[in-house]
Symmetry: C2
Subunit: 477 residues, 2 copies
């Protein structure tokens, strides 16, 4: 709420990001290293994300449940890759009720193991399949370098865990949920994402194949915004999850897991934000419309406020805030709500009352270009239309930005230059050594092998050997 200007986004993106979050009261640093407090404005955005996803999960037959926060250490050790991947990041409870515990308990970093254990109890027959369960909750990973929303010790997410009778069904589920994430990102968050497959080096610890949606942030770095994993029978074998099939023979199930976290709040901030602060997509914005009454005299006030009240009633289907503060000026309010990213501002003063109009001011087009005079007739329909327009414009802008910053390197030097300032979409032979060399030389990692491929073949950008797939190389959060 300070009058100090925000850091300029293009000059110091990381500091701009932190200041936007702190000043808009999205989140704050917690007194425990690496943890955050999600403040009401940030949590309201997350709740809208939750609803948008939960609706999609339920429409595709999933149900929610809750599994324990604590996992016996021995569970993690049952899947070799899994424990290797997660053991450096664990928070461990060693004391309970004043006593040292016989077996330490891990605060869940993810729940494949404990859910696998329960599935082995619940699943007996092919009639019990598929199991399509999702969980909303918190997990803990002991990260060393943390950033609000992007990487915190504790974060909030959903993790889906499904079990199927066949590999085919499980693979279909894995891709269905990837598609669900992409649909949410594109249509609700206005964040253009590339759905693709992770390389072996980048996949989830314990998965056969991992898929991701990757998004380009405002500084051209990539952000992994949601992942979906085909786990094969790895966890089924580790936890002995078997079912009797149609021939009455015992088989291991095939499982998947998929997750999207509060990191996505960071993705929204870094995709759409500008030098004035947040720019929130209308479908997810905690406040879609802010109404600012404008008056100087008590007489004007007595004419303006009843109209504000009437308008508010008409806009009951939207998330509306009336800013009736007396201690600050309209100009202060304009800046304040622009910083907070409210998509549409409606200004109404005595002249508007006379003319039966209001002013619309779009957050995505500041200044005169974004202002229009609108008749009060059919106001709800006009607001709906304007929010739709803003939603589409945010998506188009973000997509154009990604396209403008995605390049096709002609040689390795080119790749090294491109990954300094954008994404490179290159032929890659699939060899981990080539991938490692790029990371070593440029700090850029393979982000994903996009599902949509150009077809044909080319030469690996690193070693020159034949390649049949293109991959995105980019620096990433």
């Amino acid at each position: 709420m300070s009058d100090d200007k925000l850091p300029i986004r293009t000059e110091n993106f990381p500091e701009w990001y932190n200041q936007v979050i702190l000043r808009t009261e999205m989140a704050d640093y917690a007194p425990v290293r690496g943890c955050m407090v999600v403040r009401p404005y940030g949590w309201a955005l997350w709740e809208n994300i939750q609803q948008a996803l939960d609706r999609r999960f339920k429409a595709t037959g999933h149900v929610n449940a809750a599994f324990p926060l604590f996992i016996p250490m021995s569970f993690l050790e049952k899947e070799k890759e899994h424990v290797e991947g997660f053991s450096p990041e664990l928070a461990i409870v060693t004391i309970g009720g004043g006593q040292k515990l016989e077996e330490p308990l891990v605060v869940r970093p993810t729940s494949e193991t404990i859910i696998g254990y329960m599935y082995s109890k619940w699943i007996q027959s092919h009639r019990d399949l598929p199991v399509l369960i999702n969980q909303w909750g918190n997990v803990v990973r002991w990260e060393l370098r943390t950033r609000l929303f992007l990487r915190t010790l504790e974060f909030y997410w959903q993790e889906g865990h499904t079990a199927h009778a066949t590999a085919k069904e499980a693979e279909e589920e894995t891709l269905r949920m990837l598609d669900t994430y992409a649909d949410f990102a594109i249509n609700d968050a206005a964040v253009p994402v590339v759905p693709g497959r992770k390389s072996n080096a980048e996949k989830f610890a314990g998965a056969v194949r991992s898929y991701t949606i990757e998004a380009m942030m405002g500084d051209t770095k990539a952000l992994q915004a949601g992942t979906s994993h085909f786990l094969g029978q790895n966890f089924a074998k580790a936890f002995d999850i078997k079912f009797s099939d149609w021939n009455n023979e015992l088989q291991y199930v095939w499982t998947t897991s998929w997750g999207l976290s509060t990191r996505f709040v960071g993705a929204i901030i870094m995709t759409h934000g500008d030098d004035q602060g947040l720019v929130l997509p209308p479908k997810l914005a905690p406040i879609q419309v802010v109404i600012v009454p404008i008056y100087k005299s008590d007489e004007d006030k007595s004419r303006v406020m009843p109209v504000v009240e009437a308008i508010t009633k008409e806009l009951v289907d939207f998330r509306v805030k009336v800013d009736a503060r007396e201690e600050v000026t309209p100009g202060f309010k304009f800046n304040d709500w622009e910083m907070r990213g409210v998509p549409l501002r409606i200004e109404i003063g005595p002249k508007d009352v006379d003319k039966g109009t209001v002013v619309f001011a779009r957050r995505d087009m500041l200044g005169r270009a974004g202002k229009s005079f609108v008749s009060m007739d059919q106001l709800a329909a006009q607001v709906a239309e304007m929010l739709k327009t803003i939603q589409a414009s945010l998506f188009d802008r973000a997509l154009a930005f990604r396209q403008a910053n995605t390049f096709d390197p002609q040689n390795y030097d080119d790749l090294m230059q491109i990954t300094e300032k954008g994404w490179a979409l290159s032929w890659w032979c699939g060899d981990a050594a080539c991938e490692a060399k790029v990371k070593e030389d440029t700090k850029a990692s393979t982000r994903c092998i996009p599902l949509e491929q150009p077809g044909g073949a080319g030469k690996c950008i690193v070693c020159g050997k034949p390649a049949t797939e293109k991959v995105f190389f980019a620096k990433a959060y």
Copy 2:
């Protein structure tokens, strides 16, 4: 899903309770001592409870946020009563990322301390007040004797934490939220509750005054179903939460906290359940209506199923399940859904199709008495009406049960007998020694001093000294 009968409720209430939960797949035991897995059917009920409460919280100006799971041990020690109350129950993280932590982290048993710390940063002026924040999340208390939903190491709840400029406002908030809980319990859960004040011995560790809603379970034991605490300036002083008042003078804020947990799921089960299993209140039931098609031949099936489909479409505003399983009989389905407590069953067979009727079978009145033939005309309105009737009947039955098992003891012997099999509403002088003697002699505790008092005065049921308030004595969960 076993055909074995449930234990008989009146013969072995605790075993009946456990078996109902396990067999209806509301919850299961977790592989960590004292923890539970809330399965999809149980979680769907909790989600409905969450929505019913969250709507009320938001309507009274509250917003949601998320505070960290981990609290530095030193924070708890800042409020003397608080740490004394909670320290025997703590789970403590001593290792993070492979390193021993310098300061151990407590897994939150409740969040007054860490929220108090954040409020001291956020609150500066009277303009920042009131702060009305709620959090939905999980907490951990290292309990020795655990029961599914009623007392588990980890449980799910909401905890509201508010800060106010004056004691009066904070006390009003405390009672407003108590009233909110009572309104939810009575109107949505059909659980009659007594709102009242806790004795000093029973109050929350760190509170000035605690309030509770107390409910009578089917075995006449009491259950504390939600609590609201006036914390005075205890936490404000411990965490230095100050604001500059209207005269620009620094003052400590006044705080409240209030919580309702997954324990309430246990309250619903134990209030309404019967020998057949669960009986769920229509407003919260995950499935409000189950439709069971009845046919023997393929020809009948081809006549019945289109009507089932049409009815399902008509009932789109309700939570409806069509049980079209082929491998079990309608009789099996009737028992199954009765066990799961679905309020209303609609049966439809070929004769019904001919007559344009369906059968309604009420879960709260089993057998012929609960069945009625209903015309398919205006079916949605009839379903709405029937669900309303069932909702009211559940409440009336539970209230009548409580009234029938609440007594006015004439002397101490009488009190001892009554607390064996019900609640005693008695005059009490307020002395902790009298309360302790009753607990020692009968295992009954003071449940609450009801807000609604008869007025006048009497003699303490224990010591005979003058008393101005009546209290409920009862054994409790």
